[in-house]
Structures are given as C-alpha cells and as structure tokens.
C-alpha cells in the first residue's frame, strides 16, 4: 500500500502512514489525478518527513502518504513543473525546511525575507511597474503588490505577502490547553470556520462525541458567517464600481446579520461561541424566531437591491468580462471555494465530504459560472439565498434536539495519531491537520486557509485588465492576508 485512506475528521494511526519515494509520488499524482490539500514537513529526529494529503472530491476520501528526506538529501525535482497547484506548497516546504525543489518556476519567499524578494521585471517601451503596499490606501491588511503594466494594461501582477506572519502554528503547538481563542484569531473574518476546524480536529483526536444540538448550532453559525461576509462583499464590490446605493444598503444589511450573531454569543463575529467539546451558547425558541425574522428581512432587501443593480447597464458592464479566470486555469492552480466555483470548478467540502447535516438539508448549488467578477458577484448572491434556506432548515432540525447538552466531556488526546479536518468556510475549504506523538503531545499542526491556494488566481485574474480594475478584482475574491501568512 502506497497510500492510506481516511475520511474527514477520522483519526488514523500516524505510524501506519506509508513512506514512498518522490518518483512514486510523481507517478501516482499523474495516475490518480487528485487535488492537493496538504504538503508539509515535520522534523523526525535528524530526518524530515514530508506528508502529502490528496483529496478525492468525488468520493469524499483523503489519501495520505509521506516521503522521507535524510539529512544528506537537500533537494528533489519539483512537482510544480507538472502540477502547478503544488507551487505554493513547495515554496512553503522549502522556506520551512530548506529542501529545495529543483527547477521550480517561481521559488520565492512567502512569509520571510521580504527585503530580498526577487521580483520579475519587464523591460520595453511604455512598460512600467507600479508598487503598492504593504500599507494600502484603505483600512485593510498589509501586503505588497507589484504590477507590470504597459500603459493602463496589466501584464502581470506579483503578490508578496508575509507581513501578517505571527507564528500561529507554533503558538498552537505551545498551548498547554485547548486554545479556541487562538483558532478564532487565525483569520478574523472566518472565525467560525477556523474555530470549527480546530475543534473538530481536537475532538477527533480525543474521541470526544459532541451532541447533535451543538453540531447543528455550529453549522447555523457557519452559514450566518457566510451570509454576513458575502453581503458585505457585495457592498464592497458595489462601492468599487461606484454604485454607492449598493455599498450603503449591503453595508447596513450585513450589520443585521452580525448583530444577530452578537445576540447569540456576545460577539459580532461569533467569537466565544465554539469550544472543543461543544458550544457555549444556546439558540432557544425566542432566538430562533429572531433569526427567522432577520433572515426574512435580509432576503427581502438583498433580493430587491440585486434586482435593481443587475438591471443597470453601468453595473453590468463593469463586472462582465472583468477579472476572468478560466475553468482550466482555476483547476490547474488548485483553486478552492467560492472563487473556484465562480470559475466552474464545482468543489464544496460541505457536500463532497458528506457532512451528515448538509446532506439532510440540501445539495450543491447548481451554478452557471462565467469566471469573471460578475460570476463571483452572482455566486455570492445565490449562496446568500442558499445559506438563508439552510439556516431555516437547520433551525427546524434543531427543535428535535431541544433537550440535549451544549457541552460534552472531553476525552484524552490519543498518541501517534493523524487527523485531517476540512470545513467549507465562506471563502472555501479550510484544512487543519494535527499529528500527535508517543506521549499524546502535538508534534505538528498545519493550517491551510483557502486563500493560500487562491492568491495566485487573483494574479491571473488581473492579467490583461486595466490597472484601475484591480480593486474590483481584488474585492471580488476578498482573500485573506492573515490566513495565508499565519
């Protein structure tokens, strides 16, 4: 056996993970045609073990294997040459462990050494470069963008991140208790998504069974988060194409959603709601009524506004054919989440990995993707409608479990285990992987936010667009800097 198979949130023995050669890996990647979700190293005495996790979206299975590098092996032939989706993973592995992927097309730093970043450069008549950041004009996170343009037209964009790097994975390893508050700060706009992934990893490691009730409330919160961010982003997209009524209406509509979250758990972004072993706040009958009333109001406003907006030729012409990414490119780059779906790669870990509740309440959105800003705007709109529907259905199921506990007893963390957890946050799949050692201590904690895959998609999207369309393209993706930088 060259690969070990596992499911979402299922514990396996880490000692049973096979070791294969890099040639075997390359051979299997070609034959299996699966998507990479994990590619990270771990120190093992003087050797370095590279763990590779692939996702089979059709069957909802993860394939796991590993490659062992002894101290003399300092390089290997890069996989990116044949499988571009590995580019960012190989760069990360090189930065952390110094094992060089040879002939990697853009082996550049991701979280360190920004002052030595080797930018591409272009020469020629009318060619110029525009450097932006790390501090941007708006109130947003830091990152550096380097545009290579001819006149107004962007040939290429290089994105240099890492400014937000604060060593989250290391902090999680060093935490003596379960640290849900830290998991909430991995990415402040996906509080529920990351905290849910972290909690599920820890619960699987410790064989903790949480109540159906807390599972359902977690999913309600996840959908509320999706609605809030999508509506906020629709406002931001409207603002960037100078349709100000949209910006103001979606802005205040988002407030309705996050204020409901505040009523549920005391924080507008859902902080403090989820803990390992369950949740801290209940949704009772009066709260349920409030949520339903809020959903109806939000849907009414959103539907009306979108209807007016999409009749305006000035709006349509700004969105259509702007920031286009083809299905082929999205698939090659390993794009995930709503950005991938907007380009026609229909992956959604809520349904692909057969979540028990999502299977009850609905199915994957059937979306006709066009790959441009318009596609990402409309997908957001349709996901808002879908999420509202999901929340209503979940609330209905919740009633059956009225009497259940919010918190369950937490077991002991198992030794020598490997757990992978994938949660579909609003931006896309969030993957957390934990490996424990002989004394049940955490040896490695790997986080992959969806932005990690998707940043390069933004670079592809702005090619051949006017540089003034960059803000619009950027908002249509709304990728996370801190989720990438960790």
């Amino acid at each position: 056996m060259k690969w070990i198979l596992t499911e979402n949130n299922k514990k396996i023995n880490s000692l049973e993970i096979p070791t294969i050669s890099i040639e075997d890996l390359k051979h299997d990647l070609k034959n299996m045609n699966l998507r990479v979700v994990g590619f990270f190293g771990k120190q093992e005495f003087e050797n370095i073990r590279l763990y590779v996790t692939l996702a089979d979206d059709k069957n909802g299975i993860f394939y796991i294997s590993s490659v062992l590098f002894n101290p003399n092996e300092k390089s290997y032939e890069s996989l990116t040459q044949d499988f571009p989706a590995f580019h960012i993973f190989e760069r990360e592995f090189y930065e952390e462990f110094g094992i060089k992927p040879l002939n990697h097309p853009w082996l550049k730093p991701i979280r360190h050494n920004q002052d030595k970043y080797p930018f591409f450069s272009m020469r020629g008549e009318d060619v110029h470069e525009v450097a932006v950041g790390p501090i941007h004009a708006g109130v947003i996170e830091p990152g550096h963008f380097r545009f290579m343009c001819q006149g107004e037209k962007v040939y290429d964009l290089e994105i240099m991140l890492g400014y937000q790097h604060r060593g989250i994975e290391e902090l999680i390893l060093n935490s003596s208790n379960f640290n849900n508050r830290l998991a909430e700060s991995i990415c402040g706009d996906t509080v529920i998504g990351h905290n849910m992934a972290y909690s599920m990893v820890m619960e699987s490691l410790s064989d903790t069974k949480i109540s159906e009730k807390s599972k359902i409330i977690r999913r309600i919160a996840l959908e509320l988060e999706r609605m809030a961010v999508h509506i906020g982003d629709m406002g931001a997209i409207s603002g960037d194409m100078a349709y100000l009524p949209g910006a103001s209406i979606f802005g205040t509509t988002r407030t309705l959603v996050i204020n409901t979250m505040l009523e549920i758990c005391g924080s507008r972004f859902g902080r403090g709601l989820i803990n390992v072993g369950g949740i801290n706040f209940d949704i009772d009958h009066s709260m349920e009524q409030k949520i339903i009333a809020m959903l109806d109001e939000v849907l009414h406003i959103t539907q009306k506004t979108v209807k007016v907006m999409l009749k305006k030729s000035s709006c349509i012409s700004r969105m259509e054919k702007t920031g286009f990414v083809s299905t082929e490119n999205a698939r090659l780059l390993g794009a995930v989440g709503m950005a991938a779906r907007s380009s026609g790669v229909n992956i959604d870990s809520r349904f692909d990995f057969k979540d028990e509740f999502y299977q009850l309440i609905g199915k994957k959105l059937n979306f006709k993707a066009t790959g441009d800003v318009y596609s990402r705007f409309r997908l957001r709109y349709e996901e808002v409608l879908q999420s509202a529907n999901f929340i209503k259905n979940l609330l209905e199921i919740l009633r059956q479990y009225n009497k259940q506990n919010l918190k369950s007893e937490i077991g002991f963390v198992s030794p020598n285990s490997f757990v992978i957890s994938s949660v579909e946050g609003w931006r896309g799949e969030i993957v957390h992987i934990a490996i424990t050692g002989a004394n049940s201590e955490l040896l490695r904690y790997k986080i992959k936010d969806s932005s990690f895959n998707n940043w390069y998609m933004l670079a592809m999207a702005v090619r051949n667009n006017g540089i003034s369309d960059f803000p619009l393209c950027n908002k249509s993706f709304n990728l996370s800097y801190c989720g990438n930088d960790l």
Partner: protein
C-alpha cells in the same frame, strides 16, 4: 433612477442618532464587574493572562472579552466605553464601576482638544493581527455608525493624517513599515492602539514573530480595548478624546 431612489427609501434612516448613548444588546461582553468575595475561576481559563486572582483584577489591555472566565466573581456588563489614555487605567479592580471608569479613563491634553476637536484624520496601520479590528474600523464609517459626521475619518496616506491607528501585535515583518509610516505623518500627531493585540500582544503575546519595539520608542496617546474593538467603543473613545465638552 427612480428604482434606485425607491431602494434608498426602502433602506430608510439607519444611522444611530445619539452615538454617545447608543443602546447596546445585553449579550455584549463589555466592562467587567468583579466580586472578590465570590468563588473565583481557575487562572488557567484566561487565554491571554489578563486575569489576576489576588486581588481579583482584569487587564482590559490584554482581555479578549471571550467570557471564558465568566462566573459568580466575574460578570461582563454591556457597557462599551472602554478606551483610556493610560495603560494603567485599563487594569480593572473590584472597586471600579463602569460609571467611575468612564469619568476618569480618558483625560487628554488641552492642545489635542484645541487642534483636533472639529476634525481628526487618521491613518490606520494593520501590523499583524487577524483582520477583525480592521473590519470593525471599516464598519465605523458605514451608514450605521457614520463616524464621518463628527469629522473623524480614515485617510489614504499618512501624509494627510493627524495620527495613526495601530491594530495587530506588530509582527517583525511589519515593524519597519510601521515606523516608516509614523515618520511620514506630519507633526503634531497622535498614536492610538486599537484592540488587545496592539495594546499588549493579546492572544499573540508569546509569539516569537512579533517585534514591539515601536511602542517603547514613541508615546501612545489612546488605548482602545476589545477583540475586536466594537465600533461604538472606538468612536466614543475618540470623541471623548478630542471633544471640547
């Protein structure tokens, strides 16, 4: 056109008229109420070391208001005015009530009131952190909170700004850019720390990837706690800081 006007009519007036006395939902975790005589929680329940037991106190500069420590001895009120002009005032003990705190917490110099009371333009610098505070600062300018009506605005360049608003624990990678930004802001200028991360390192205080030397070099004028800082906390702290009343 007529349809857009209809939309705006449907939206109605969403702004909060009296921002200084705006109602807050009771579930909000704000100013803590402490009781030394009740049963105290375990010290390990606090993820940031904001809690001390003998005597009972909570350092709002470190507190993420997560509610982990909530028990008989520690309750959280929904009072949201948490800003202070000195670091020491953020350490809340049993004797401190929210009314008293709000009275003494913000005491700014007369020059600041004289220069900035009608208009304050701020440059925000995100120096690490998680984007939570940034989202709440953006919300300060939306139609609900509408900070612009008080003459307080975020501007695109430090050269147009009267002061800096810093969020995040200040990562090593952002230390240089932050300092550069500080020097690009013309004098006289103020520095505001927003959120537990900026004030104390918060949840990231033990990280090896942060560099907080900036805070030792330059004076800080205002501390605004929260994780993330609620827009009402932010706007009220600034209003109190610059208002002539």
């Amino acid at each position: 056109m007529i349809e857009t006007i209809k939309l705006k009519y449907m939206q109605g007036n969403k702004f909060i008229p009296d921002i200084e006395n705006a109602p807050m939902r009771e579930q909000f975790r704000g100013f803590p109420i402490l009781n030394n005589n009740a049963k105290k929680p375990e010290i390990s329940c606090c993820p940031t070391g904001a809690l001390s037991l003998e005597p009972l106190s909570i350092d709002l500069g470190k507190c993420t208001l997560c509610g982990n420590c909530k028990c008989e001895a520690i309750q959280f009120s929904n009072r949201y005015k948490l800003g202070a002009t000195s670091r020491e005032k953020l350490i809340i003990t049993e004797n401190m009530t929210a009314d008293e705190f709000e009275k003494i917490a913000i005491q700014s110099r007369t020059e600041i009131k004289k220069i900035f009371s009608k208009s304050l333009k701020l440059r925000q610098v995100s120096a690490g952190g998680c984007n939570g505070c940034e989202m709440e600062l953006n919300a300060c300018s939306n139609c609900n909170f509408d900070m612009g009506r008080f003459g307080i605005e975020f501007v695109a360049s430090p050269r147009h700004a009267d002061g800096l608003v810093i969020t995040g624990p200040i990562t090593k990678n952002m230390a240089y850019a932050l300092e550069d930004c500080y020097h690009s802001t013309p004098n006289p200028k103020i520095v505001i720390l927003t959120g537990a991360c900026a004030i104390s390192g918060g949840i990231f205080q033990n990280s090896t990837q942060i560099n907080r030397e900036f805070l030792e070099k330059y004076p800080i004028d205002l501390y605004i706690p929260g994780c993330p800082t609620h827009p009402l906390t932010f706007i009220n702290a600034i209003l109190k800081f610059i208002s002539n009343k």
